[in-house]
Symmetry: C2
């Protein structure tokens, strides 16, 4: 008999039919007559309850069905008498595939802290929380590709190893094959990168945007979806040294087109999660509520599904940075000194507290801010006619603040050169980027979505280390 996945049995299994299931034991309980084994195979959040007659299988065999052990069970699907499930399987054959010593196995059936599970990241896929997160993550990956494919976008794999620095900022990881024990030097005493693998100094990419723009200048609509890196020593719940980014780039799009696409994209992703992951989201929602019990009422976050619908059901409010500054300056928390950073006026860099005030208290809707001061944004953003602001946009969400950052790009060769000079970006090394402003330049726009930020929002998890399989953070590259 071929193995059937538990997800299929729970969805399509007909009572009275025989199946073969394989999975790992979550729990076992029972009496001298009968054992109930909760079996999980990772295909769905729910376990399949196996009913095993002690007389048939013997105590010795059933005692080996400890938490973590792997089993193959053949049996008949029955309507369940017990609470918590509609069907169960009455075992006819039961084999222990792999034992699991309860004295050694760290994931015994009790509540484990997320911190503890991070140290057991190789095993945490077997927990309800992390298998749910992994399945939702997969659904979001697929939804990203689905969305862009349906619109005729081309996915481009931009380079991971690069000799350029897209943002003109951000600390980077060096990539080298030089002997660190004995770094070769030139006669002038400098590091001899001519002897390195690529013949020059190279780093891990911080963004695929610049290369994405090149592709958009021929294919029109492209997106990247790949790993990006920051060597910042930030040990927070929001930062990873290695994280995944989605960066669409569109020829012939102005800032309004860009905002339309970003809003449509985010709503598509969240709708997809609600439609395709109802069981996992229900579990994650109850997990979050339980966690929030320990917080004061005013610190508690929105219920997860309510938060997702909040994004789905409202038009995003669009306003300029300058308008937002006026609102914030005159807001109660600003006047009462309740913001950690008081807003004095134009020029201030908005903090998460300000972004969240706009979204959660003032508008009670997702917000898109545009036209930021050029001083606080990147060199490639299109300068407005006021010569003061750039055609940037930040999409702000409840709780997490900025979820998307983007802009119309400066396509004017002279203006771009001037901005690069102002901001000390070496233009000689970027000849290829500048070329696209010389040869049939077109208005174009794009944005970046940090995939783990999205995952935090969709799953309600509080720590970014818990929405990627094997997080990379300062002093941590385990597994």
């Amino acid at each position: 008999m071929r193995r059937t996945k538990i997800a299929d049995i729970l969805q399509n299994g007909v009572v009275g039919e025989d199946f073969l299931v394989k999975g790992w034991v979550r729990t076992r309980r029972g009496s001298k007559q009968v054992n109930f084994i909760a079996l999980n195979d990772g295909s769905v959040i729910h376990n399949l309850q196996i009913v095993a007659d002690v007389e048939i299988f013997g105590e010795e065999l059933l005692r080996r069905a400890t938490t973590g052990a792997s089993l193959a069970v053949t049996g008949k699907l029955n309507a369940s008498q017990g609470a918590g499930q509609n069907v169960e399987m009455v075992a006819e054959k039961l084999e222990v595939i792999g034992d699991c010593d309860p004295n050694e196995y760290p994931l015994q059936p009790k509540k484990h802290s997320l911190e503890f599970l991070r140290e057991k990241a190789h095993l945490r896929f077997r927990t309800s929380t992390f298998s749910a997160v992994a399945r939702v993550r997969h659904a979001m990956i697929f939804a990203v590709h689905n969305f862009f494919t349906s619109k005729g976008f081309v996915n481009i794999h931009t380079p991971i190893i690069t000799a350029s620095d897209a943002e003109g900022a951000g600390e980077m990881f060096q990539v080298t094959t030089l002997d660190l024990d004995n770094v070769p030097k030139t006669e002038a005493g400098k590091i001899d990168f001519s002897r390195d693998f690529f013949g020059k100094a190279t780093n891990l990419t911080v963004s695929g945007q610049l290369e994405g723009e090149l592709a958009a200048m021929g294919l029109a609509d492209i997106y990247t979806f790949g790993p990006t890196f920051r060597a910042e020593n930030s040990n927070t719940t929001r930062h990873l040294a290695e994280f995944w980014m989605i960066e669409p780039e569109m020829a012939f799009y102005d800032l309004n087109d860009n905002m339309d696409l970003a809003e449509e994209f985010l709503k598509y992703l969240i709708k997809y999660a609600l439609e395709h992951c109802p069981d996992d989201l229900a579990f994650l929602s109850s997990r979050l509520m339980e966690e929030e019990q320990n917080k004061k009422a005013e610190d508690r976050s929105m219920e997860l599904l309510e938060k997702l619908r909040f994004v789905l059901e409202d038009d995003f409010v669009r306003l300029t940075y300058s308008e937002a500054i006026e609102i914030l300056k005159n807001s109660k928390p600003n006047k009462k000194g309740q913001f950690k950073y008081t807003i004095e006026g134009y020029g201030a860099d908005l903090q998460s507290e300000h972004e969240r005030f706009l979204v959660e208290k003032h508008f009670k809707k997702p917000v898109v801010l545009t036209d930021y001061p050029k001083e606080i944004k990147a060199f490639y953003m299109k300068l407005n006619e006021d010569n003061k602001t750039v055609r940037a946009m930040d999409v702000l969400f409840p709780q997490i603040g900025e979820i998307i950052g983007g802009s119309q790009r400066e396509e004017n060769h002279e203006k771009l050169l001037a901005r690069m000079a102002e901001m000390d970006i070496p233009s000689e090394e970027m000849w290829w980027y500048l070329d696209t402003r010389k040869f049939g330049a077109v208005p174009h726009s794009g944005f970046g979505l940090g995939f783990e930020r999205l995952m935090l929002f969709v799953t309600g998890m509080g720590n970014i280390r818990d929405v990627i399989a094997f997080p990379r953070t300062p002093k941590n590259a385990e597994f």
Copy 2:
């Protein structure tokens, strides 16, 4: 009026209707009365022919519609009189968005060598060949996700920066934030990695398999799709320093299940390409035929579509390595000394020439070889009962030889430890990998598909640098 993509116009455009198109000029020709402009917007291999009346637009404007210039054109769709297209657009409004100086623009309308275009990788998206390759690449990316999603697999983003070496071989890129000019040393004179970002020596991953196995031990069916790296100084048409790999890993799969999945997967991908990219493949096929004209008849490759159908229509032949050795040993080319490496018998490492002989001459079908000598395969492959061979499988294709390599994994803790000791794999650092053999171990299998190898096969391109946007090779990290 909203812009319509040329792909949509050619597929759904109704003659007599008005459209707005935007794109880049491929060519312009014409008389004193009328100009014909071939416009391309990257959405499809075909250009849209724009018919522009010189009297309406004036010679001065039309002269600016040089190759590479970007245009916005509004006009009416007409049935075309000319050869080569069914419809054309009669321009009513024509605007040059961005000029393109013919004295500077390198992609003038003439035949360019692939080598030349590699140096202009930032512009080559605008050529027919590379836009076709980019679109086929996208189709293959989407097909990969589609295939696995439909089977309930979970895509796992395994780490790029890692402290482990999956294959126990392969030269790796070091990742570091240490000051290369002044590498810190311990008192004992060794490199002080405690002061590096991760507190230890780290590298770029050569494979996501080991981490993928961890995920499969909880989620059952997973796949990775991410960049992998080899710091090998190989300047060939088959090697990249940075390339993308797809690595599924399945709990409860034995080697036969693994072969079934690999065959189904490859056939799905090729069927998808034939169904979704007929125009791009037709172009790439004729490109290949033109290129092959210059070769001697016996060196010419199969016609592209014929080669794709060759895979689709035949069951893959499955045989053991030992059986293949017998066939090769007794083959004409072996006896006549026509192989560069003569096959003496069991133990020989098969070269591309042998793999291709089996596929193209002997069986005339794709071939799967299994049960290789353990000495020439990796430590994690399951040992057969003969204690000599391992449950490995290589899928061999015409022209490129090995396209997939995989195996059933050794799930027995003692046997795995013994193999690691034999092959000098440090087991202490791999405690997490070994743990999955202690806690509910199950038979499991997986394989790896080099995505650019697949792309070479599907597109008929001859050099791996031409199937990825910005290739990374020794001494080359441009763009």
